[in-house]
Amino acid sequence: MTDVSDDQRVLEVAGLHRAFGSVQAVHDVSFCLARGGSLGIVGESGSGKTTTARIIVGLERADSGRVLVRGRDRSAAAGRGRGARLERAREVQMVFQDPFLSLDPRVTVGSVLRETLRLHVPEAKADHDRRVEELLDQVGLGAREAGAMPRQLSGGQRQRVAIARALAVEPAVLVLDEAVAALDVSVQAQILNLLADIRQDTGIGYLFITHDLGVVRCVTEDVVVMRHGRIVESGRTAEVLADPQHAYTRLLLDSVPRPGWNPKAIAVARRAL
């Protein structure tokens, strides 16, 4: 992992542990994300990557370890009140995998955004309509979509709405949990480009949870490879992908289908690991 000086870290995760019964889902996971940076967490199902993300967002609690955003401990029992809740929301936001399930089917796109704005910016009521327009514009949607119900939108459009909803809070870190996995290739590329633009414009930090090494390569600067709840390798994305040090990282890389691909050798390597 690259050395990031303390004041440049927007997110720092230290010594996270989480067990479900006898299964150690997350075991001593530590990493940090630079301000405006993009970090990928790669792993297969059961690697603990999603649990890690959920702990960071606050949907899951860690048995031990700390999550700091801008140097402030999120897990601190500081507040259960409204103020603390909103403060936590402004630190980290999340985009979920399935755009068909992450929006309330009964609420229009405009209302989704207005609802969030009303919660976080209750004073400036007059400005909400303009802000909704801005947010939709930022994710490439127009006034026509603002009045639409989620079911009238395509998967890509819904994922844009989910991104706009997360941005409405103006968080420091955006966690993207397999956020493009359910999309078609041509739409996926649009969303990945959109995310790159947003990061450039706003300086938001990304935590990309994915199983797809192609996506990691495309949108992250640093990467963490997880297996069975532990980090097996981490470093600059380009270096890790070009010269993997851990056998599991190599296996993951070899498993990506390409012409001249040899699935049987991969199966052998997998069993050997």
């Binding site: 967002v57 606050g58 949907l59 409204r82 809740r85 909103l86 936590r88 929301a89 402004r90 980290v92 936001q93 999340m94 979920f96 995998q97 399935d98 399930l101 992450s102 929006l103 309330d104 089917p105 009964r106 609420v107 609802e115 969030t116 919660l119 976080h120 989910a162 909803r165 809070v169």
Partner: protein, 284 residues
Amino acid sequence: MTTALVRRPGLARVRTNRPLLYLLCLGFLGVVVLLALLAPWLSPHDPNAVDLGNALAGPSAAHPLGADGSGRDTASRLITGARTSLLGPLGVVAFSTVAGVVVGVAAGWRGGWLDSVLSRTTELVFAFPGLLLAILIVSIYGEGLIAPVVALGVAYLPYVSRLTRSLVLAERERPYVEAYQVQGHSAVQICLRHVLPNIAPVVLAQSTINFGYALIDLAGLSFLGLGVPALTPDWGRMVFDGESAIQAGYPLSAILPCVAIVLTVVAFNVVGERWADQVARRDR
């Protein structure tokens, strides 16, 4: 949606995939409700006007559906009786729906010990027959509409609360609920603004079906002479009053309220089930 509505065995066989049947039932219910609302203007006679000279009279121009053993006009009593017969179940359903939803949401959302306490308590109520509970309460507090309505409301609460609980459990698993949590919305806000409206159609469908059952149960109580005061026109009471007429070989004044009860209950069932089906189809 995998959650099945609770239906009684005999009525579960009434299939509702025919739109014509649904429309007929909906129309029938509309007519019954209209009759109940406009009863004072529609009744050809005073439903309680006794005319012993006319006792057990057959249908005639003055009394289109005949008269009962005391010479009261059957048509008027049917129309006016629709009021009590519908008002009682309405009370039962309103009480059981509101209380059941509160209990179900609390149990499903909060989980843990609260869920255990609430679920076990409602199961206890479930185990106790509603009709028996109502008879008990009526025998303590005397006749009147309030006591049996409250008793049946409590007895029907578990149907609604169990359904609500399972719906809430399924709904809170949906990522959109987590998305709102991450956004900083409070649990109460998420429940009221998003979870409840999403599960409401199914709960209302169940309540519609419950309406029919409450109607049967209240009519049964009236038939037993419990519940509705003697002189109030009520379908169940009319069946009870008509017993002697049947023995006299003149069954019309007892059969007609029976028919009204059965048709109304079936209609509520068909409509409720159809609504549930529509919700299920929309969800897919």
